[in-house]
């Protein structure tokens, strides 16, 4: 029922195609599509509205740069605005440190958001960057929460604080003393999950804040959160004055519009994202990637992340590098095919790829390769080529193609189809790696329609 957001945006662009100026009337249709995209991504209604007003203002005055059509110019504005609001270029230091150590970092948020896990991730991250953190279990409510943090700490190779008090404020104060004594320079407080509506428990956080004077109060939020993100984040901020946000569980297929809502509701930067249950699944926040994700433009990085579970990580990395350098060869394609059989759910992966102009059916057809027996045929063809031919497809003249066809028991036509498919893939990858990808979407859509994308299948 939900068209992919990518399709919506291509539709929005189509509405503007062939028009030379961005005007009130031609923008409105496109804005409606963007609104839909934002809402389906769980961006808060009011946040979406404010955003669209802003985009409209920008777009109406905008000059359409040479080489762009209005549709491209519009999408470019939408994307740029979203990136800017979500934090622009993430270049500053992610955390502020106290002038006088130890620096106190307080983790807060709703139940189950991922605070305890994130404490371990952050501690590990800081340790890698030269700090010596101490983890402090200040959740005396949830069954086994303290034990959980000790286990996480052990996994992370970070010391954790032991104390028999049942009072979170006392525990935190004692931990601070201990840190000063023993020279731990960062103290990370894992607080219990709580509702922003719970006055008693919110007051407890204020008391911890007053007692420990944290340099950072980080609101940990689940990337799958819906419209409520504005309320919960806004309320934590109002009651506590958060300094930043960590967005967890980005490893799924959520569009993550909550990131935008939270940013708007608090004005505080999103500093990190959690992308898995393991302690290394933790990265600096990339507004650019997040904007693409919210807009449903797919992202080759999340594609790789998804495949990571199944594909040998080294292979994936190597492939990513080759894609980045535009060195994708038939040999890579062959190896990719071998991986594909391990991958299983290609449909999902195809869904993540930014392929405007390719219909869902076509994607499914392409995904169908994974199980199709043609997969075997294609692999047989590739196997029959020499390594040199796989490294450079230009070597494959008519004579060599006949040899390959004979060797694999397939027809020359099939060999040709495979090469065509390879070239399409190569082109896709070039597009995805181009920072100006946005402005190329339309051209690509045109090329796809003209080209034989559907034909090999």
């Amino acid at each position: 029922m939900f068209d992919s957001l990518t399709e919506k945006l291509s539709k929005a662009m189509k509405a503007l195609r062939g028009q030379s100026k961005l005007t009130e009337s031609n923008i409105d249709e496109a804005l409606r599509e963007v609104r839909m995209a934002l809402l389906e991504a769980d961006v808060h209604v009011a946040v979406a509205r404010t955003f669209l007003t802003r985009v409209k203002e920008k777009a109406l005055g905008a000059e359409v740069l040479q080489g762009l059509n209005p549709g491209q110019a519009f999408i470019d504005i939408v994307h740029k605005e979203l990136v800017e609001i979500m934090g622009g270029q993430a270049d500053e230091k992610p955390l502020s440190f106290a002038a006088q150590p130890p620096t106190v970092v307080m983790m807060v948020g709703l139940q189950g958001a991922g605070k305890t896990t994130t404490c371990g991730k952050l501690a590990k991250f800081l340790k890698k960057n030269g700090s010596s953190p101490l983890l402090v279990p200040a959740d005396v409510y949830r069954p086994a929460a303290i034990e959980q943090l000790h286990v996480v700490a052990k996994d992370a190779g970070i010391p954790s604080f032991h104390h028999e008090s049942k009072n979170p404020v006392e525990i935190c104060e004692a931990a601070l003393k201990e840190a000063k004594l023993k020279g731990w320079d960062v103290v990370i407080l894992d607080t219990a999950g709580r509702l922003h509506l719970d006055e008693t428990l919110m007051a407890e956080l204020s008391r911890i804040k007053a007692a420990c004077e944290p340099s950072e109060i980080l609101f940990v939020a689940d990337a799958m959160t819906g419209q409520d993100a504005v309320r919960s984040a806004g309320s934590f901020h109002e009651q506590l004055g958060i300094t930043g946000v960590i967005l967890t569980k980005t490893d799924g297929d959520t569009r993550g519009g909550a990131a935008f809502s939270i940013k708007q509701a608090t004005g505080r930067p999103i500093k990190f994202t959690g992308s898995g249950e393991k302690l290394d699944d933790f990265e600096r926040f990339h507004p650019d990637r997040m904007a693409q994700r919210i807009l449903g433009m797919g992202d080759v990085l999340s594609l790789i992340e998804h495949a990571k579970d199944k594909i040998d990580e080294k292979d994936a990395e190597r492939l990513a590098n080759r894609m980045a350098k535009n060195q994708f060869t038939l040999e890579d394609m062959r190896q990719q095919f071998q991986q594909v059989s391990k991958l299983g759910s290609m449909t999902k992966i195809m869904g993540m790829l930014p392929l405007p102009g390719i219909t869902k059916e076509q994607k499914e057809q392409m995904a169908g390769l994974a199980t199709d027996k043609r997969m075997k045929h294609l692999t047989a063809i590739l196997d029959s080529m020499t390594p040199k031919e796989r490294a450079n497809h230009n070597l494959l003249d008519a004579k060599r193609k006949r040899r390959v066809a004979g060797g694999s028991g397939r027809s020359v036509q099939e060999v040709n189809q495979l090469i065509k498919q390879y070239l399409e893939m190569k082109k896709m990858m070039t597009q995805m790696n181009d920072p100006k990808f946005m402005t190329r979407m339309q051209r690509m859509a045109g090329a796809m329609k003209g080209g034989g994308m559907g034909s090999p299948f």
């Binding site: 009011a46 509205r49 996480v152 806004g234 490893d251």
Partner: protein, 303 residues
Amino acid sequence: MALFTGLIDKFRQGLRRTQEVVLRPLGHLLGLKKLDEDQLLELEDLLLQADLGVHAVDRLMLRLRFELKRSNEIDPKAILKDELLKVLHQQPTRPFVAPSTQVVLLVGVNGVGKTTTLGKLAAHLKGRGEDVLVVAGDTFRAAAIDQLELWGERAGVPVIRNQMGGDPAAIAFDGATSAKAKGTHWVLIDTAGRLHTKDHLMKELDKIRRSLQKVIPDAPHRVLLVLDATTGQNGIHQAEAFKQAAGVTDLVLTKLDGSAKGGVVVPILERLKLPIAFVGVGEGVDDLIPFDADAFVDGLLDV
């Protein structure tokens, strides 16, 4: 720097506008007998805020517009309630009775409240005098077993476990075997949180299923998908994937004590026709109550 302060101002502005909308109650619109275009748009926004999703809201608005054309005066609240209840009443939940050993599997994405729900359910069943065995099927997350054991203590029911990192299918098998031998009424199986996009983890659920069936052929009798009420449209993907991979029979909606109303169950039930068995309304042992569609819809329309 100027750019920076400019941005901050924009944020503030955004926030103010956001709050205005967030705080404006739905009630005044629902009490009106006629709605003009602006009011309809406002109502639409408010409904969207309940996580009902674009599609469901479109449908609701269509019905309202239709009724507005048809008659001079309408009762928006009654119309919306009617539409929503139609969806929610589609599939009644089967009662939790145990003529023979019943196996219940709890599944869902990370942190939604599976273990807590299991603890509450165990206490409830035990409280009405039935035997319960709890199986620690989350052998992955830090201290998941300890957490479940504490819930077992709270509920006064035994917990069967193996070591961390052990095979969940194996412990599920042991649990079912022991319960069958003793004629225990209920076997409640906790599972590790997993994102529905992770195929290998989803397959693990099927493995648990199959190992249960070696002992009790028609197990698991209930597969409860636990959904967090704060979840947005991603809940739809969750429900579809878990239904397919684990044969979900019922939904449990947790954290309804927060400010989120769990509207995403509406588009979910439009597609999947599943009953909602329980809702979670807190962290205490008694905070699990049967789903009441009427009260739920009132909550949705009270944003």
